[in-house]
């Protein structure tokens, strides 16, 4: 099973819009939403039925038994994450700030601290006769999103129908842990860029990040006609950096309306639809050549 991941660097460039179109065009038997912080793919994939849900446990977090706590402050002084707070002469753990290092547990003289399992999110797996869709929601304020992303990907691996050839993965913005985790084991990344100074700056950083992890890339420009000069800059950048250029998609309000109606951009006849079809063909050609 090969994997195509859609990233962007900058948020709001159109990853989910393009990912959902590709999923429909290729009739993907497996797809996933790795933006576990703010997942959106499920809003337009029109899944019927309830997903299989499972709790996702991050690292165990510290908990202080207030009856045993003698208020010595040893945990407070040694916590590097500002996760121990004073309260009424004793101490308690800030659940959001705790990173699960367990230094406090190791140093507590009266064994008042223990590491307890902490639910950090929920994994969801939709399955129908043809395909599987793996997604998750990180519990608000949680860390360990990289591991949840890995769980989303492992779910595809475990649940995919044996004849699945291609999995399409909708990624998250940024360049940190969840993005890095999503890149693991991927055959190609399609970077969706937008032609603004912010978009270009962010695209360069995601390209640099993907290079560091040795992942093959192609770039496309969404909303390209909002700034033709910048689109040209992106094309030149790709030429200079020897990056595969997959195509462009125009800004199209019809596409936006389709999404809001729960449809994919390829379900409605509009300029964006044609462009996405061409982009799809070009991307699949590049993908097969890898």
């Amino acid at each position: 099973m090969r994997q195509l991941l859609i990233l962007s660097g900058k948020g709001g460039t159109g990853k989910t819009t393009i990912a959902s179109a590709f999923i429909k065009l290729v009739k993907a038997k497996a797809f996933a939403d790795c933006d576990v912080d703010a997942p959106n793919l499920h809003l337009i994939m029109n899944q019927l039925g309830e997903p299989k849900r499972s709790d996702y446990y991050g690292l165990p977090k510290a908990a202080i038994d207030e009856n045993s706590c003698i208020g010595c402050g040893s945990c407070f002084e040694n916590c590097r994450f500002e996760a121990i707070v004073a309260k009424g002469g004793k101490y308690e753990v800030d659940h959001f700030a705790c990173e699960g290092c367990s230094v406090c547990e190791a140093l507590c003289q009266v064994k008042a601290i223990s590491m307890v399992p902490a639910i950090a999110g929920e994994l969801m797996l939709y399955k129908d006769a043809e395909s599987i869709f793996s997604t998750a929601q990180l519990k608000m304020g949680s860390g360990t999103s990289g591991m949840l992303v890995t769980s989303v990907k492992n779910q595809i691996k475990d649940a995919a129908y044996p004849d699945t050839e291609l999995a399409i993965i909708d990624g998250s913005p940024g360049i940190g842990c969840p993005v890095i985790a999503s890149m693991s084991g991927v055959d190609m990344v399609l970077i969706v860029a937008e032609p603004s100074v912010s978009g270009i700056s962010d695209m360069e950083r995601i390209v640099k990040t993907a290079r560091q992890f040795g992942v093959k890339m192609a770039v496309c420009v969404n909303k390209y006609d909002t700034n033709l000069a910048n689109t040209k800059k992106i094309e030149e950048y790709c030429r200079k950096e020897k990056l595969l250029f997959a195509g462009v998609v125009p800004f199209d309000t019809t596409a936006g309306k389709a999404i809001n109606a729960g449809l994919s951009v390829i379900d409605v006849k509009c300029p964006a639809q044609e462009a996405v079809l061409e982009l799809f063909d070009a991307t699949m050609k590049l993908f097969r050549a890898i």
């Binding site: 962007s8 660097g9 900058k10 948020g11 709001g12 460039t13 989910t16 912080d37 703010a38 959106n40 809003l43 337009i44 690292l59 040694n78 590097r80 994450f81 959001f96 699960g100 290092c101 367990s102 230094v103 190791a106 140093l107 990180l138 608000m140 304020g141 949680s142 860390g143 999103s145 990289g146 998250s172 913005p173 940024g174 360049i175 940190g176 842990c177 890095i180 937008e194 032609p195 603004s196 100074v197 912010s198 978009g199 700056s201 962010d202 950083r205 995601i206 640099k208 990040t209 560091q212 992890f213 909002t226 700034n227 910048n230 309000t253 936006g256 309306k257 999404i259 809001n260 729960g262």
Partner: protein, 283 residues
């Protein structure tokens, strides 16, 4: 007054709102908390930049003192230490800098050395004090850089605007921790309204007073506006969907400086926000 600007969904207009409010306020600080993909500097073009490297501590073994007891290796919850040929070996990129191995080593053979994860900088953009940071690509978390930024902004007494990263996870939480008020920027798509609901949860859990700015508004029904009305959320203002604004923004230009109608819009918005903050301060 510390105001955080967040959105959940990326690309809704956090930087647009943050930068334009800052220049409208004139006497203000702008803090770019999105250290993974910073954009504020592209608009404010800060001068006289002072850069500080941001370092995190990672352990280092003194091999002569180490007796191979393995306490450090077995303790590490992040698997950053392996034990090979009787000595601990560090994998710095997985190390969370908790200091546990150093504190627990019975032989006092572990010390700490500094590893660079990025940099923080401050500068001036006209009268606006600019604070920003950049995480090195390949690093996993920008939180240490944020902490440095917050240290740097401690002396700011007037208005400080914190331009947050997208999402609602640890980076965003860190960014809104000390905020007096939160502005949630929403776009009129179902993606936008869905993610708005996520950050709405976040600000409620953190007990922050907040209001919403609706961006890219057209006459068509706005799912984010519907969400606000259904949940009795204060709508601070609306920014229209405007090709002119988009074009200027895509060139790194500040619309409140370029177009009088936006100077007016952001002046009104700033006034409304100041009123809300005062009101909430009295609650």
């Amino acid at each position: 007054m510390k105001i955080a600007v967040l959105s959940g969904k990326g690309g809704t207009g956090k930087t647009l709102v943050s930068v334009n409010l800052a220049v409208t306020a004139v006497d203000a600080a702008y803090v770019d908390c999105d250290v993974e993909e910073p954009n504020g500097h592209l608009f404010l073009k800060p001068q006289e930049l002072e850069t500080t490297q941001v370092m995190v501590p990672v352990p280092e073994v003194n091999e002569t003192l180490c007796n191979g007891c393995r306490v450090c290796v077995d303790f590490c919850k992040f698997n950053a230490l392996a034990f090979i040929k009787n000595k601990p070996v560090l994998f710095p990129e997985v190390c969370h800098s908790c200091g546990g191995c150093v504190k627990l080593c019975p032989q006092k053979a572990m010390t700490e050395k500094a590893k660079e994860v990025g940099y923080a900088e401050k500068g001036l953009s006209g009268s606006i004090r600019f604070y920003g940071g950049t995480m090195k690509t390949g690093e996993t978390s920008g939180v240490p850089i944020l902490r440095e930024l917050f240290q740097m902004t401690k002396e700011e007494e007037e208005l400080s605007i914190f331009d947050c990263p997208p999402g609602s996870a640890c980076m965003v939480m860190e960014s809104i921790k000390d905020a007096d008020y939160c502005i949630l920027v929403a776009e009129p798509t179902i993606f936008g309204s869905h993610n708005l609901s996520l950050v709405h949860e976040l600000v409620k859990v953190f007990k922050k007073p907040f209001g919403v700015v609706l961006n890219k508004c057209t006459e068509v029904e706005n799912p984010s506006e519907t969400f606000c009305l259904e949940h009795d959320i204060t709508i601070l203002g609306k920014i229209p969907f405007d090709y002119k604004l988009g074009a200027l923004n895509s060139e790194g230009l500040i619309v409140a400086e370029e177009l009088p109608e936006y100077r007016d819009l952001f002046t009104r918005l700033l006034g409304r926000i100041k009123d809300e903050v005062t009101l909430c301060g009295n609650c």
